[in-house]
Structure formats: structure tokens, C-alpha cells
Amino acid sequence: MNANSKLDVHPDAEILNAFAEQALEERERGKIVAHLAACSRCRQVVYLAQDAAAEMVPSVSTPAVRLEGRRESWFRSLRFALVPVAALAAIAALAYIVHVQRTETGSEMAKVTPQTAPQTAGSNSAAPTQATGVAAAPVSAGPAQSEARARKMAPAVTAWQKEQERTAATAEVHGIFAKTMAQASENESAKREETDRIVTAAAPQFDANPAPPASFEAGARPRAGGVFAVYKGKEGELPSGLAVVSNASSQHQTLAIDKAGSVFVREDSGGHWDPVAKQWTGQAVAVRMQADLGANRSGSAPSPEAVFELVNDLRQVWVSTDGRIWKAK
């Protein structure tokens, strides 16, 4: 069969149509293209069929819809099922958004708590001199904003009270802090307004205050006492990232104990915290200044040679003059 005689044999209408509808596999397709390249008759058939299809676009869809009936009926049934599914999804999304908003509000309150917490009279070495974040704004904010924030702070104060109760319990262990914390609770409402302001307080008589989870700087502003602690209202400033449970400051040094019982020391007002090697038994729960205690008791300024005291969970005491080397008392 020569080349010309082979052209007497053409692909049937079905194959040509399948070619035009791209329904053939690659091998068959190549075969048809090869034939079309040579056969003007089949090319004409394909062109005409395509032109007719282009003119019949609306009516072509009619059989397609009918022929795909099974698939469409399946889809149609699914379409009805999609309505309740979509409604459920919307409800779930709404619930999630509300939950997230509440969680965010709660965490925001928790952040605000240490800043809004009133400082106790007895622990004013840790009194804030500068409030940051949300609490800092009211210094220049209008009365309406203050009122709104006061409303917002109500649960935060409650949270702070709970925190205070917890820390008070710790203080009771040592016995020394119980009175201070009780006074703090009593004076809480009176000092609430001061929480938004930068507060600088005189050095405490007893510097082993149960601190809220906030950072502080020592010696920000010297006063008569000469020992100051400034709350910055930030959590996780210690290298451990844990909240401070107790801190004490001298003129040049600040000691802090985190929740894990790790002790850190910082020189002057700035700089970074250095961890103190453990030289005591048990877990350190409080740190205080022996010198301050004596100074305040006698009503005079603290001596330059301040002595830090560290109390462990067995109520044993260690002393140090530089906060780094400790000896059992």
C-alpha cells in the first residue's frame, strides 16, 4: 500500500470527534495528527465539526448535563449537605473567635496585673517608679479613658489579689512577710490609683518583698534611704524568664529569686543579671537586707556595708555582703 492509497482509509467519525474533543491518548492523537497533516478531507471534516460545535455551544451543554447525570446527582445531594456543614463551620469559627478574644483579654489583664497592683507599704523598695504599657498611658490620658481602664482593671485586680494571697502564704512561711502582705491587702484600694503612675518609693524596711512577676531596677533615684527598687512591670526579665518571687536591693546591688529558686545578682541599676552559684541547701525562697532592717529599725540610713540574707524553704538563713558568696548564718 503506497502513501496515496493509504489515504483512502480515514479515521472514522468517532475517532475524529474524540480527537477534536481531546479524548484520545497521546499515541492515538499523534497518529491522527499525522493523518490530518496528509489528508485534506479529514482536516476539512475536523474544521467543519469544530465550527459547528462553536456555533452550537448552548445546545451542546444539554446532552452533557443529561449524560453527566450520575455525577451531578451525586454533587446535588452533596450540595444540600453543604448547607448544614457550612452553618456548623460558621458557628465553630465564631466560637473560636470569641474564645480567642476572651483569651487575649485575659492575658492582657494578666499583663496589666503587676502594673496595676498597688504596692505595699512594707515593700515599697519595689515600688514602681515608671509604669509601662497599658498602665503608663493614663498618666496623660483623659478621665474617660481612666474610667474605662479602671473598669477593665477590676478583674485584673482580683487576679492580683489572688497572686498576693499566694505570695502571702509564702511569706507566712517565713513569718516576716505576713504582716507586710496583710497591710498591702488593706491598703490596696487606697493605692489603686497610683498603679498607673510612676511611683518611686523609699527603700523598704525589709526588702524581702514577695514581688509580683515584674522586673525592677535598683537605685533609680537615690533618696534618704539610699536603696530603691523600681518596678518596671515586665515579666521574665531574669535570665531564667521566670517571675521574681523575692528581691532585695542595696545601693549598688540587687538580688532576686525567681520561682524556681534561682538567685540572680545585678550590679548598679543597669546591666544584666548574673546567676549566683548555689551555696545553700534547699530552695531559696526569700532574700532580704539585714542592714536595711537594722537601719530602718533604728530610723537611720542603711549602712554602706549592707548584708544580704537568703532564706531557704527550711527557714535556714545564709548571709552575704556582695550577693555572690554566701555563708550559713
Partner: protein, 276 residues
């Protein structure tokens, strides 16, 4: 009773499917054994609904015919009108095919329905359109042969060959050799564009490519052809400069039958013979 009918129907459909798959060897080359996956792919591509309707009509099922008439009668007429470009001719063509489909023609005393040849590859409406187009083209070609050639062939202007016959012969050989090197798709693009004078959009639709791609393909084919012709001329003994000059020859001086050249690599046979 009804259950047994359903089972019998399912068995019949299975037989038809197997028959269809076997006849076409599941779309594979002859001699190749189709794997189960290939068979499944083939069956999935079939328009089963269309095929069942066509077979039911071919066997004379009345309900099937009702469905067929309701669905395809009007599209069939419209397609025929679109193909012939004439309302009268279109309706005539559609009626003729419709009569054939209905089984008015018989062979060896047996009712013969073209729907029997539809095997579900491509849509039924597409098959109807293509069948109409085939009938129309074949009819036109038959009548075309009966008409005097002078009405269709443009008179060749008389002019003298500007180049020596040997050079033209070399050019003819070079062009022939270059065209033979083209693959099927390239030859199709050339034939469709230069012989059929189809637009790039029409060519692109046939090849299922973008119009811009068809344009690039055509440009590239022409460039490659030119390069190949030059190369062939040089291999036939012409210098580069002489080959360049030879390309400037008037195409009318060449004794080339592009149609024949493009048919060069036709090698595969198809199932249906062209209408006489």
C-alpha cells in the same frame, strides 16, 4: 422478575463494553496487550450514557428514540446548517442522516444503523457533528469532481523561468528533503496554514494549544525549513551564497506538489474507508 431484567441488562452492557474495548484494543497499538489499568483508563474515558443511548436506539428501543429525538434532533439540524452554511442544505443533510440513523437503510436484508458504530469515545453530539461534516465533505468532493476544473483552478500566469533548470531541480530536491524531515504536527501546521488557509486560531483549536503557541510553532517550522533547505542545497553542491540566491527563486518556477510532499509519511491505516 424486575431484578432478573436488571441483571440481564447489566450483563448486556458488560458484553458491549468488552466488545468495544476489544475492537479498539483499548486504544492501544495493535498487538499490544492492555493491562488492567489501561483497560480501566479506557473504560473511564468512555461516555457510557451516550453509548447506551446509541445502542438502545440502534436496537430500535422506542423510549431511547424518544430521548434521542428530544435531546439531539434540534442540535443535529443546527449543526448541519452550520456545516453547510445553508438552511435548506443543512436541513436536507440532517434529515438524510436522521433517516440513516433511524435505520431506513438496509444491507443484506438487515436494518443498518450508523449509531451501532458509536462506541462512546467522545460525546454523541460530537460524533453526530463529525458524521455530518464527513457526509458534507464527501458529498462536496463528489460533486467537485464532476465540475470542470477550470472553475476552481486559478490560471497559472505565463512567465519565464528566471533560473537555470539545474538550480531549480536542486531547490526542489532540497525542499522535498526538508519537508520530509518535519514531524507530523509540523506538517499539519504547514498544511492547515498554507494549503487550507486556516487561521492560527483554528489550527490552535484543533491542536488544543494557544493561538500564540500555534503562531510560534509555525514561525519556528518555517525557520527550520529554511535552514534545512539551505543545508540541503549546500550538501547538493551549491555554495552558501548560491544557496541563498536559490532561495530567492519564484515558487511558481518550482515543480513541487506540496500536498504530495506533506503526505509523505502517511503510514497508518484507519478503520473507515472514505466515501466513494
Amino acid at each position: 422478575m424486575r431484578w432478573s431484567k436488571l441483571r440481564a441488562g447489566a450483563r448486556r452492557v458488560n458484553e458491549i463494553l468488552l466488545d468495544v474495548g476489544t475492537v479498539q484494543n483499548y486504544g492501544l497499538a495493535e498487538g499490544t496487550t492492555a493491562s488492567r489499568q489501561q483497560q480501566a483508563t479506557y473504560f473511564r474515558a468512555l461516555k457510557l450514557g451516550d453509548m447506551v443511548l446509541a445502542r438502545a436506539c440502534a436496537t430500535g428501543n422506542e423510549r431511547a428514540w424518544e430521548c434521542f429525538v428530544a435531546t439531539y434532533r434540534q442540535p443535529l439540524v443546527r449543526a448541519a446548517i452550520a456545516i453547510t452554511g445553508s438552511d435548506t442544505l443543512g436541513r436536507e443533510l440532517a434529515d438524510q442522516l436522521y433517516g440513516e440513523l433511524f435505520g431506513l437503510s438496509t444491507r443484506d436484508g438487515e436494518r443498518r444503523c450508523p449509531l451501532q458504530s458509536y462506541r462512546g469515545r467522545g460525546s454523541l453530539i460530537g460524533w453526530l457533528r463529525t458524521t455530518l461534516a464527513q457526509r458534507h465533505v464527501d458529498h462536496f468532493r463528489r460533486n467537485h469532481r464532476e465540475q470542470p476544473l477550470e472553475e476552481y483552478d486559478a490560471p497559472v500566469p505565463a512567465h519565464e523561468a528566471q533560473r537555470p533548470a539545474t538550480e531549480l531541480k536542486l531547490l526542489e530536491k532540497a525542499v522535498e528533503g526538508a519537508l520530509k524531515r518535519c514531524d507530523a504536527e509540523e506538517r499539519f501546521v504547514l498544511a492547515a496554514y498554507y494549503l487550507d488557509e486556516r487561521t492560527l486560531l483554528q489550527i490552535a483549536k484543533v491542536l488544543n494549544i494557544h493561538e500564540a503557541t500555534a503562531s510560534r510553532k509555525l514561525r519556528r517550522v518555517c525557520q527550520d525549513l529554511r535552514k534545512q533547505v539551505l543545508k540541503n542545497l549546500q550538501s547538493l553542491g551549491l555554495s552558501r551564497r548560491a544557496a541563498d540566491e536559490a532561495l530567492g527563486a519564484d515558487p511558481r518556477d518550482l515543480d513541487l506538489n506540496l500536498k504530495k510532499l506533506l503526505q509523505y509519511s502517511q503510514s497508518d491505516a484507519f478503520q473507515e474507508k472514505a466515501a466513494p
